[in-house]
Amino acid sequence: MEVLKIATAGSVDDGKSTLIGRLLYDTKSLTEDKLEAIRKSSEKKGYDYLDFSLATDGLVAEREQGITIDVAHIYFSTPTRSYIIADTPGHVEYTRNMVTGASTSQVAIILIDARKGVIEQTYRHFFINNLLRVKDVIVAVNKMDLVGYSEEIFNDIRENFELLNEKSTYGEQRLNYIPVSALKGDNVAARSENMPWYEGETLLEHLEKLEIADVSDKSKFRFPVQTVIRPKTEEFHDFRGYAGKIYGGDLKVGDEVTVLPSLKTSRIKEIFFFDQTFDKAGAGSSVTLTLEDEINITRGDMLVKTDELPRVEKEINAIVCWMDNKQLRPGTKYIVQHNTNSVLSKIDVIRNNIATDFSGVLEANNQLGLNEIGEVQIKLSKPIFYDDYTENRSNGAFILIDAHTNATAGVGFING
């Protein structure tokens, strides 16, 4: 079955958890025992409605404070497809979680409180979905019940958001606006009787019909080698297979490939998936490949089609989102993990800080703090084989690892 990965983003009180809880409830994904627990908790708090936010707020600290503090994953399915929601918090200090959620998602839902309209937080969420090239963005205008289900208010918010969209640099992004009340269930799974003026799809209808889009549809075949398979058994004595996941385009037996960094060429002999061989494989497949010629290949190497070479450089420019308490400064060293390749690197120049509210580039102060985003030039001890992030999401992104603490300190999107 098809899997659709969704990231939700929103401010503290705009009802994100309630919306997700409502989706679970309306798709009958909440089991009796979970529902019972929600009923009890809601009663204990003296609510006269079901507090669906309890279905997702998992950690003790969250229940105490009544907020969401980390990325939680929620699963539900309909007869049409399976859904995975990465529920990310909306506080300013948790930009890193929003980036994390967006990096694994195909669709984003941005929630807006109808009473408050487009606020600074909305800018931030939209900016991150722009930066990460999330193709589909759903703007859910929530709490419509609290503004008298007013068409005028909904239209105002849409117009304000469109103004924001004019600043976007990602023209292919698809935007949809839906007026909802997560608490009451309007336009989530069921069409709202309170908003006859809205003729579009409900949120669930929209998700069900959405064509799963991916920039990699059009991108080139990239195969970072994860590990070399050498059984050394009698039956497979000379077997040498390269295990990895295909990023980008298709591959078929007989295709001429170039191995990076050695630049040696060969042809695809076999495509294995478990104990079967196939003629073809597409993006996302975790396969094992064998080649016509014996070439020395190790983890971190990459197979590409000979007429589609990526860039091979020892110096890269990237937009970096910083995720560590310790600031990023020029001259410091980090491990760049790019696909299966780990390379020691030195931060050369921090060109600028980019405002996450579309207001542009801030003055460069030569450092990036936690949750800040900026353009960075990085020197590598060995070349990596990459594409620009806008051309291939997987082959254009990397993480920065602090060699002392081993923390994942930042993420970069290569742009040259």
């Binding site: 079955m1 089991t31 979970k34 998992g58 950690l59 694994t104 195909q106 196939f278 993480i399």
Partner: protein, 318 residues
């Protein structure tokens, strides 16, 4: 994980001969295989935590697929509570024999005998939480740096926050407020000496995904997953195994024979059965699909408090 995983599902119509020769793995399977290969490549001494339950059996199948035609490049570790269903143990031994992988067994009974843990007493006595000590000892004994487990995020609220690579300190503790962000499908396995990583390749699978996979692949699972007649008694609305040497039963808790099966296989003292006549995998899958009770609803250990799982995880539980 990576957005591209879904693309393995072909969108354009293909000619009949092309369909047969194109890799058609599903997104979740591709993701799990990718993760298992990252474990083998990034760690010195990985181990697969094997309970004999359907999730760890699924992991074994995925590991076979990840490394074929080579053998699974890490051993299996079973923490035996001594209170397992005998069917599970028999199944385990047969599977290990067939695959030719190394099996390490460490016993909770030994930890009790060594005075490291104290057996619980009373009505709800279980060895489930005691396993943690035995597991941490085994990790230290063998210097395992990565423990692959079959936990899924849909099982429980605290698990919904769990990373694919989840770092544990020397004491096996999970610091849920300070987890590494996981971006795209990049997994950071860098750790200090003494730390280890818990790896969850089927994080994104639901219970139904696991059952459907077992059905599609024709994977053998222990017989207790299918409907059978069993001596049982009722407590707190749940069906318990009447196994008096292991499960405490009060005098007024009457034994009755019922047709049941298990949805999850843990320690016998904390796993309740469900009434069922589903005696084939097809019937089980159909039943799960229509089920109104969550899988862990039949796990007595989770009912202790709302934060039961989170507390156990902080202490180093699976």
């Amino acid at each position: 994980m990576n957005t591209e995983t879904t693309l393995a599902l072909e969108k354009q119509p293909l000619s009949p001969e092309a369909i047969t020769s194109r890799v058609q793995a599903n997104a979740l399977e591709n993701e799990a295989i990718y993760i298992l290969r990252e474990v083998a490549a990034q760690f010195e001494r990985p181990v697969l935590l094997f309970s004999g339950g359907k999730d760890s059996i699924t992991l074994v199948r995925l590991a076979q697929k990840a490394f074929y035609p080579a053998r699974i490049p890490f051993p299996l570790l079973h923490i035996d509570t001594g209170h397992n269903f005998p069917e599970t143990i028999a199944f385990r031994d047969e599977l290990v024999n067939e695959l030719g992988v190394e099996l390490i067994v460490r016993n909770v009974q030994d930890s009790i005998d060594q005075g490291k843990v104290v057996e619980e007493t009373g009505k709800y006595a279980s060895r489930n939480t005691l396993q943690t000590t035995t597991l941490l000892d085994a990790i230290e004994e063998f210097k395992f740096d990565a423990c692959i487990g079959g936990a899924r995020r849909d099982e429980e609220k605290a698990r919904a926050k769990e990373r694919i690579f989840s770092v544990r300190d020397d004491f096996g503790q999970w610091d849920e407020k300070n987890q590494r962000p996981e971006l795209f499908d990049m997994l950071n396995g860098n750790i200090e000496i003494g730390q280890n990583v818990r790896v969850f390749p089927i994080s994104n699978w639901t219970e139904l995904d696991v059952w459907s996979y077992i059905q599609k692949e024709g994977i053998d699972i222990p017989s207790i997953y299918f409907a059978h007649e069993r001596e049982t008694f009722l407590r707190d609305g749940l069906i318990w195994s009447a196994q008096d040497d292991i499960v405490f039963r009060a005098e007024d808790e009457e034994v009755e024979s019922r047709w049941v099966r298990f949805r999850t296989v843990g320690d016998m003292s904390c796993t309740a059965a469900v009434e069922s006549h589903a005696d084939t995998i097809d019937k089980v899958v159909a039943e799960i699909r229509d089920s109104k009770i969550s899988e862990r609803g039949a796990r007595i250990d989770d009912k202790r408090s709302e934060a039961a799982m989170e507390k156990r995880k902080q202490q180093g539980y699976f």
